[in-house]
Symmetry: C2
Subunit: 335 residues, 2 copies
């Protein structure tokens, strides 16, 4: 087995709670060089059941193609191996409930296939709940309640990153198990529609839930100009609300993705009139990258920023990976 | 844990290599009372990918509903538990390649979901090979070769029960691993289209493959009048061709199924002009059951028939279950 000088174990490695990169050997190698041991990777945005299977199959082919670099997580035990053999543990997720269509039985089916996270909504209203861009939010639906219970049973983690406020509060309250907001920031720091109110974050924290801090420029004060210290300050403010044990990173990195993918993420097949999401007609492309997070190799910069801001090494590591590890090892167990 | 006086371990329990019953508590209890510890159950005939997922989900619900009676097999280790806790080990299979549609990646996807067997064809030509009712058989196709290799890799067992002769011989030859004919009989005993020539059975045997003996009346000399000794004689003739270690039972029981299911099995959605399969327009319904195999409770009759015919107790047990167990524990391992 190849030894990697910079390789970290699960305990001191970095965990990224959300990415949707254009996966390649280079991206995997960059992440490994950056000490990343586990990543929650979005496999699905708008894909229906049949299409979702092909996304899963595409990931299976990646696991077959890059056996030296990545491994698929199905169980907490798989995650416990993260960092043990130089392979990054990949956890697949859906940012929408489209894979299950109208079929409660497909929660278990997709959990069996290694889909470990599912958002109940992606920006728009779904059969389960309201998305964060809807003008009205009627909360979790009849089907939504059943899906929450079934996700709890199967050990599929509920993610409300792109959901509206009332729906998120209801999901926190209805779920028997802690849920996550895998990639968003406190709205008190930067009031974008995707960021979360202190009310949501307090309810999330009180229920044992988890927040992954986003590095997507639209979610940051100053946008692409946000400094490392600015990000560390944001982390400190999140910790003030959530506590030091329930915050991690959810970078929302979309490395090497063409604009066509951004358009797909924003419009799926539902929009005839172009939707620009967090951008606008005159700002329709990807935002410029942060200077301190241009590839997976740069993750140690975040740790350094946290230390420079004044976090202790132990607290910085909680945010960089240890918190996610502890949360996930519990959250991925079936009931 | 409830102890069952008549319960057998995997070594002396009965394994049934194919059933498609109308599953209920009564049927499971009858099988258990009959000493059956493992069953290959057909989940899919003509269902496409999406529909196949709902069939899998339906089975998952059965496993949730009857946790005292049945357990799902995914791995050889699961099968090794057969009989250990009073639960029958169920192995799901497809009698057709319809679940994978045109997507090689769906072999692994369905194997992950616990689909352990797949026939390359069900009576008709498919994208993979020719079915036994086609007038011409051009053998295994381009896609078929890739699927055989992928099934080998994933530990999904190739079943050619309903395939045509040339296709079957080619599948035996192309496959890196032994294949099965899970439910059919020697055509030398009863020359029905579904039964297999000695040439096929010899090639199957030489490659380490496996034959499950069918009790479907259309596959038996004398049909529903076939006696227990007649069936034991058929078993002896199969053993003469295949050897004592590669023959088991594949009952093809379809207990409590309405005629509408028989019509579905025969016609799927492909037939506008009714196809009667092994029946005919004036004999379109299920054949009457054998007097000695009316439910799962009657499996011990088969063992008794083999003993009465002159098989040793050890050889009778090989046919009743030990052979299947040994074959499956190897065949279900991924490469």
């Amino acid at each position: 087995m190849i030894r990697h000088a910079r390789w970290r174990s699960g305990l001191d490695g970095i965990v990224d709670g959300l990415q949707y990169s254009n996966w390649s050997r280079k991206i995997f190698e960059d992440l490994r060089a950056g000490g990343v041991v586990a990543v929650h990777a979005t496999a699905i945005y708008w894909e229906n059941t049949r299409e979702s299977l092909s996304r899963i199959a595409q990931w299976n082919q990646r696991f077959e193609q890059f056996p030296d670099l990545i491994r698929k997580v199905r169980t907490p035990a798989d995650l416990g191996q993260a960092g043990a053999d130089g392979r990054i543990a990949f956890m697949l997720g859906a940012q929408n409930c489209s894979p299950i269509e109208d079929d409660i039985g497909l929660v278990e089916v997709f959990r069996d296939l290694g889909l470990l996270f599912m958002q109940l909504t992606y920006n728009n209203q779904t059969a389960l709940a309201a998305g964060c861009y809807e003008s009205d939010d009627a909360g979790v639906t009849r089907f939504g309640r059943q899906v929450i219970s079934e996700m709890n049973r199967c050990g599929m983690i509920i993610d409300m990153s792109h959901s509206a406020e009332r729906s998120t509060l209801e999901a926190i309250s209805l779920s028997r198990r802690p849920i996550v907001i895998s990639h968003a920031n406190p709205a008190s720091v930067h009031p974008s529609i995707r960021n979360k109110s202190d009310k949501v974050l307090q309810a999330l924290s009180a229920s044992g839930g988890f927040l992954g801090l986003s590095t997507y420029p639209f979610h940051l004060k100053g946008g692409p100009e946000c400094t490392l210290l600015g990000f560390a300050e944001l982390a400190a403010q999140a910790v003030d609300v959530m506590g030091i044990d329930q915050v991690g990173i959810g970078s929302d990195l979309c490395l090497d993705q063409p604009t066509s993918i951004l358009t797909w993420m924003r419009n799926g097949r539902w929009a005839k009139e172009m939707d620009f999401g967090e951008g606008s007609a005159d700002n329709a492309a990807w935002p410029p990258p942060l200077t301190w997070l241009k590839s997976g190799r740069d993750f140690p910069n975040i740790r350094q920023g946290l230390l420079d801001f004044g976090f202790s090494p132990a607290d910085a590591q909680k945010i960089m990976g240890a918190n996610w590890m502890r949360f996930l090892e519990a959250g991925l167990k079936p009931e």
